[in-house]
């Protein structure tokens, strides 16, 4: 009998969904060859098994060990190209996902890897910066700063020693695309960092990876070793030194100045800017700090041109966005699409509506500092400008749906408590404001709230927004205020609100 070639994801979330159980159960089955890949990102279908068929790959969804005979018999598979969740996406940065073996360097090259780096090697640093300017790529970590400007400053600042740092702290709950890249296509991250290093003249690079991502750290370390063996880290006149450094669970360490403090081994406290890291960063040297997804987007831009990238998306938001659906949606997973779809479209076409038994209440975009949207505001287009106009953020692309059972006062308290826990303590509005905010919400929660409490909360929010040193304090009021704005009656239910006068 011919062996069936099966593909099964080795991504952390696929394993959490049960992929490991399948691999264990089938480890000694002679009728199959099991290849461990990255994940397509359609996590609601996981564990998903794909099989090479004459007409292309077919997939079986939510597979149990006893489903093997059906798969081997070729019964009931769906062509991967016909899965609507995937069919409607524009996979650029995530084109390899579900297809390649993450740590197979030849797989990466066969699928176009290293073309961007080769292109960069034929260009001057100035031309690379120019290509990025044309691409209009903005950083994907949250602040959406134009990438070319940062690279240009670092390139033009004279120094013997410069650094490239990948921000792999991925602190926003509800986001996981950086983890997927590190586990599933680590050479793409490395290629992006190498292009940056050559452009600015950096001799050292670090990937600052959060403690909660042990598999990602292992995969990247392994990939760096392979890149080293392949000679990729030998620059013309010097060796490029690239390493992985693990953090220790502080959210604010995702903020770039705090990250660099942490990388130097100190308390991860936010520093006032300027100077910006591109001028004076790690150990006081010019440093480009960019998000993992930002670096992973760069190889395609060099390989296909900046104009190609700029041709996707909307006026102020070029390229694709990696949205990560979570919470009470029916179809949680990774969605890569050009900017510009409405939030409603994304929830409907990709999210597939609400999980069984749930009714929509609100959706939060952009992590724990992101605003809440009620059903009436879902027609907002997903792009930086529209979100900025609405006082909201796209952040790192996390989208979490809350259902009818969500207690909005408790959720608001959770957000303030989060900021109080994670505040680095450097600036007073964030350090003390978040604690006072939490206390007010606890008072409301216990039924002791008054109308003045809501006024106080609003004044507090205004102060925190204007005076905090970084976006942790500066954005913390938004989820709370949008909860009050759209679900105010839940906050006014306490006894003291009832009392006349």
């Amino acid at each position: 009998m011919k062996t069936a070639r099966l593909h099964l994801s080795n991504d952390t979330s696929s394993l959490a969904a049960g992929a490991g159980r399948l691999a264990d159960a089938w480890s000694d089955r002679p009728e199959i060859q099991l290849i461990r890949t990255s994940s397509r990102g359609a996590f609601f279908l996981e564990p998903m098994v794909e099989r090479d068929m004459p007409g292309g790959r077919e997939a079986w969804f939510n597979v149990m060990p006893e489903d093997l005979p059906r798969i081997v018999g070729g019964i009931g598979g769906t062509p991967v190209t016909e899965i609507p969740f995937l069919q409607q996406q524009t996979r650029c940065t995530f084109a390899n996902f579900g297809i390649t073996e993450p740590l197979a360097f030849d797989d990466y090259q066969r699928r176009g890897g290293l073309k961007g780096l080769a292109q960069a090697q034929s260009l001057s640093p100035e031309s690379i910066v120019e290509e990025l300017r044309i691409s209009r790529l903005r950083g994907r970590g949250g602040a959406a700063f134009p990438v070319w400007k940062k690279w240009q400053v670092a390139q033009q600042t004279g120094s013997e020693q410069k650094y490239v740092v990948a921000n792999a702290d991925e602190g926003d709950a509800g986001t996981y695309c950086d983890r997927m890249i590190m586990e599933g296509d680590p050479f793409r991250l490395i290629e992006g960092m190498l292009i940056c290093a050559r452009t600015i003249g950096a001799t050292r690079g670090y990937i600052y990876c959060r403690y909660e991502y042990p598999a990602a750290a292992r995969a990247v370390k392994f990939a760096i070793q392979k890149a080293l063996e392949a000679g990729l880290l030998d620059f013309d006149d010097y060796p490029f030194d690239l390493g992985v450094v693990v953090g220790a669970g502080s959210y604010v360490c995702g903020e770039e100045t705090a990250l660099l403090e942490s990388l130097e081994g100190r308390r991860g406290v936010v520093l006032a800017k300027p100077p910006y890291p591109a001028e004076s960063g790690l150990y006081g040297k010019p440093t480009v700090v960019s998000n993992v997804l930002t670096f992973a987007t760069i190889p395609n831009i060099l390989a296909n041109s900046g104009a190609w990238h700029a041709s996707l998306g909307t006026e102020g938001s070029r390229g694709t966005i990696a949205l990560q659906l979570g919470g009470r949606v029916k179809q949680p997973g990774l969605v890569e699409v050009p900017f510009g779809l409405t939030l409603h479209d994304v929830l409907d076409r990709f999210g597939g509506g609400l999980a069984t038994g749930s009714r929509f209440k609100a959706v939060q975009v952009g992590g724990p500092l992101g605003s809440l949207f009620p059903e009436s505001q879902l027609d907002i287009p997903i792009c930086y400008d529209a979100f900025a106009d609405a006082g909201a953020i796209l952040g790192h692309g996390g989208i979490v749906v809350y259902d009818h059972e969500t207690d909005m006062v408790e959720l608001a308290r959770h957000f303030m408590a989060f900021t109080a826990d994670e505040s680095c303590g450097k600036c007073t509005p964030c350090r003390i404001g978040s604690v006072r905010g939490r206390e007010i919400l606890e008072r409301i929660q216990s039924g002791q709230g008054t109308a003045e409490d809501l006024t106080l909360l609003s004044d507090l929010g205004a102060t925190m927004k204007i005076t905090s040193l970084c976006a942790l304090g500066g954005r913390a009021p938004y989820p709370v205020e949008t909860a009050i704005e759209h679900f105010g009656e839940e906050f006014r239910q306490g006894a003291h609100f009832m009392r006349p006068g």
Binding site: S13, E212, S250, E264
Partner: protein
């Protein structure tokens, strides 16, 4: 600290001693100690400060700052329940309560027999398969509160 602990601490610290002009890296030193001892005992602070040639307060400051640096030894198994928003939306607070009830332990504590330590964690990056419970290095997804006893059984 037992003598065995003391010896392993000394060896680990030697490997972290900075070679001038290298600067000492406090966080990475503490993580190295934790990977060997399972936690960073506060009574090791003087020795760490001495090897790194810095003030004890600097070491203590870093140790108290980072949530993932533990100052107490954990039980044999560390259970971490995700309280990130995707998990919260998917009822992780019910999961946490079910574990607390089942083991009779509160979050942040060791269970009396010291088999389990229960902690809350922020996002594990497993949001699409949430709610998430991490036991040691194993990540469990789509956990339902009714399934807690069978989830914990293999770790007893």
């Amino acid at each position: 600290m037992t003598t065995l602990h003391g010896q392993r601490l000394t060896e680990t610290l030697e490997s972290c001693r900075p070679l001038p002009p290298e600067e000492p890296n406090i966080l990475q030193t503490l993580l190295a100690v934790q990977s060997v001892l399972g936690h960073v005992p506060p009574n090791a602070i003087p020795q760490i400060a001495q090897v790194l040639d810095i003030a004890e307060a600097q070491v203590a400051g870093v140790l108290s700052y980072y949530p993932d640096l533990l100052t107490q030894s954990a039980g044999r198994h560390l259970i971490r329940v995700c309280m990130g928003e995707s998990c919260l939306a998917n009822r992780s607070s019910l999961v946490l309560r079910a574990i607390q009830d089942h083991l009779r332990v509160s979050a942040g504590d060791n269970e009396p027999e010291n088999r389990f330590t229960l902690e809350q964690m922020s996002c594990a990056g497993n949001c699409a398969v949430s709610p998430t419970v991490m036991i040691d290095e194993d990540l469990h997804g789509r956990v339902i509160h009714a399934g807690i006893p069978s989830l914990l059984e293999p770790y007893r």
